[in-house]
């Protein structure tokens, strides 16, 4: 592998890793506050893809959009994806998890509910939007934008990384610097004490879901732009992003980012060296290795402690 190959593969890995990182945030935030593995998050991600398709079907992009028009369409798609993702996450928490919390249900019941909700949501999407893959309406010509040390970067790739980084910075800011963030961290550290100190746990949990849903939805839109949208699209990216969250240290926001990027890059190099059939072998081997040496993940667990 020459140096230019390495740059090429690295760029592809960073692009994929940014997507994983943004999805992983959703898993890690919810785990941080509820110790819940929200397996339905992959469907929140899928909802984002459909949100983008719906918005861009209503406001159909013109055939040859100018630069400014393209930017408007992209923003529209991201907003719609994030909005639908956030809405689904909000509804999911209210309909599936809140009643369980009220009844103090055991942890296992939450897990099974998450799986059930995931099943319900993706079949609902299949029913509503059909089971054919749907292409994301074309918003711009996906040409080569610039090169990094000779590695070409296309518009979509640039978009994914920029939006990914912006979202990650925003989440990091929200968790560490805002009142909602202190609430999230407080609930993550000790829900009982947090509630004694006047933190409204229900509100914090609900907003945590929405925050994760906004991220997941936007990632769904970006993923759909890069590939296509269909009702099972959440499955593999979801499970990989979940692994990324564990790799970085589940419950730890910066860990999820690091885990996502690491998995993306590891997958990209695995594919380059051994071929596409080995993609997940490389990613999961990395996961197992890290967990063997550091069972809490690269940066350790818990939103509260790490932040």
């Amino acid at each position: 592998m020459s140096l230019s190959d390495i740059w090429d593969v690295l760029v592809l890995g960073v692009v994929l890793g940014s997507l994983y990182a943004v999805i992983a945030i959703g898993y890690t935030l919810v785990y941080g506050v509820l110790q819940l593995l929200n397996f339905a998050h992959s469907e929140v991600f899928m909802a984002g893809g459909f949100g983008g398709v719906i918005a861009l079907t209503i406001f159909e992009p013109t055939a040859d959009p100018s630069g400014i028009q393209s930017v408007v369409y992209i923003l529209l798609g991201i907003t719609a994806g994030a909005a639908l993702g956030g809405f689904v996450a909000f509804g999911l928490e209210k309909a599936a998890y809140l009643p369980l919390r009220r009844r103090n249900a055991p942890r296992l019941v939450f897990l099974i509910t998450a799986i059930g909700a995931s099943f319900f949501l993706y079949n609902l999407a299949g029913k509503l939007f059909g089971r054919y893959p749907i292409p994301m309406p074309s918003m711009y010509e996906n040409r080569r934008l610039f090169t990094v040390f000779g590695a070409p970067v296309s518009v979509t790739q640039f978009l994914i990384v920029v939006v990914g980084v912006l979202m990650l910075v925003t989440v990091d800011f929200v968790v560490n610097r805002t009142k909602l963030g202190s609430g999230i961290r407080a609930v993550a550290q000790d829900p009982e004490v947090a509630s004694l100190m006047g933190v409204n746990i229900d509100r914090v949990v609900s907003r945590t879901f929405v925050l994760g849903g906004l991220m997941g939805g936007a990632a769904g839109f970006l993923f759909g732009t890069n590939l296509q949208v269909d009702y099972t699209m959440g499955f593999l990216p979801g499970i990989t992003a979940f692994s990324a969250a564990v790799l970085g240290g589940i419950g730890n926001v910066r860990g999820a980012m690091l885990g996502g990027l690491t998995l993306g890059i590891v997958e990209s190099f695995t594919v380059e060296i051994w071929g596409d059939a080995w993609r997940y072998v490389g990613g999961f081997a990395a996961l197992v290795l890290v967990l063997m040496l550091r069972p809490t993940g690269i940066l350790g667990e818990r939103v509260g402690r790490a932040a």
Binding site: I115, P133, P135, F235, G238
Partner: protein, 384 residues
């Protein structure tokens, strides 16, 4: 997410419960009704191909019932396997458990066929597939499996012949890690090597999240042509990445990608791609034009890949049932089908002792101006 695993476990259990409670049904009495089942993807990602065939079957059954030529009624039974191995047992069992089902059209895909065919064999129920093209299917001695379509050996060889005749020096052959894709790719690879063309083989699972690496590699390798052995919903994003990466070689894919949905998904990226198919274009061939009109009238869309072949096979089954003069059982229907020679709209249908189709012509299509255009039989293209 995890739910996929759960579904795999839950569906057989649920189906088992249904079978236990739902058996029985009406027997005999009044005008006889025979059922013809179809096993194929009626939901899931490849539903487009499944519906093409289902519509063809439905049309044949409707026409037979309306014609008044027969003293029995034919009823259609769908058996949805989602084109997936995990659903194949359930789907086959649902057809087998319905005692009135006299023959099955399908299984549509090679993977499910591998699993369902032994079950049909045990039940003595003839399974006539118009699209499961993996060469090994007829080599395993499934007692009642009949293939009414040239297999992938013919298709893969056709691809190889075509590219060799185009004078291509190096080809990348990509399969989608499905039994269909691997079977097709193996034959194409062997054919190309034999013709002295440099071949590189790659496997890319159909549910890959990112085709960028693969596309980059293929463009870097400088291959003059690419054969993709897989289905359209995976080829669409792959072809998009390839075109963005600057691939300028000849693109060839098989019948799994020969669907208008491919163009809908990938638009300009698949322009100029060649698609082989053992199927003829019903809207182009003179013999099937009338069928295409009736089909469009009934379903509002023109016939797709394997619509006409499924129509033919259904009619073939109906004709055999009629020929038995009331002595209709699963065994007698299978026997009649295995020995029959039926002149359909698309071709003449007959099978050898292994249930393999006797005629092996492959046709070439090309995507031009956003439409799948008919080029002609490969034999003639290469020879002429």
């Amino acid at each position: 997410m995890l739910s996929k695993t759960i579904v795999r476990l839950a569906i057989p259990v649920a189906a088992g419960a249904l079978v236990l409670t739902g058996c029985g049904g009406d027997e005999g009495g009044g005008g006889t009704t025979y059922k013809i089942a179809y096993q194929g993807p009626l939901s899931g990602q490849n539903v487009g191909l499944g519906e093409n065939m289902q519509n063809g079957i439905q049309l044949a059954i409707n026409e037979a019932n309306d014609s008044g030529d027969y003293d029995f009624e034919i009823e259609y039974v769908p058996a949805d396997d989602q084109g997936s191995e995990t659903q194949a047992t359930t789907a086959a069992q649902s057809a087998i458990d319905d005692q009135d089902v006299m023959a099955v059209v399908g299984p549509a895909f090679s993977g499910p066929a591998n699993i369902s065919a032994p079950l049909y064999g045990e039940a003595g129920l003839a399974a006539v597939s118009t699209s499961a093209t993996n060469p090994t299917l007829t080599e395993q001695g499934f007692p009642t499996f009949l293939r009414a379509v040239p297999n992938d050996s013919a298709q893969g060889a056709g691809m190889a012949e075509f590219l060799a005749a185009e004078g291509v020096g190096s080809v990348v052959v990509v399969d989608d890690v499905s039994p269909y894709g691997e079977g097709l790719a193996d034959v194409a690879e062997a054919g190309l090597s034999e013709a002295g063309v440099t071949v590189e083989r790659q496997s890319i699972p159909a549910d890959t999240v990112d085709y960028s690496n693969a596309a980059r590699n293929i463009v870097e390798s400088g291959a003059e042509a690419l054969i993709y052995a897989g289905y359209y919903e995976a080829l669409a994003p792959f072809a998009t990445r390839l075109s963005e990466a600057g691939f300028e070689g000849i693109g060839v894919s098989g019948d799994g990608s020969n669907d208008d949905e491919l163009i809908n998904l990938a638009s300009d990226a698949v322009e100029g791609w060649y698609l082989t198919c053992p199927c003829t274009d019903a809207t182009q061939e003179e013999s099937t034009q009338a069928f295409a009109e009736r089909y469009e009238e009934e379903f509002g869309i023109p016939p797709g890949t394997y619509s006409a072949e499924s129509y033919d096979v259904t009619n073939m089954i109906i004709e055999q049932i009629a020929g038995l003069n009331g002595d209709v059982s699963r065994e007698s229907v299978h026997e009649a089908l295995a020995g029959a020679e039926y002149e359909g709209l698309t071709k003449t249908f007959s099978f050898d002792e292994q249930g393999e189709f006797t005629q092996q012509a492959i046709f070439m299509y090309q995507i031009e101006g956003g439409e799948i255009g008919y080029v002609g039989a490969i034999e003639e293209l290469v020879g002429g």
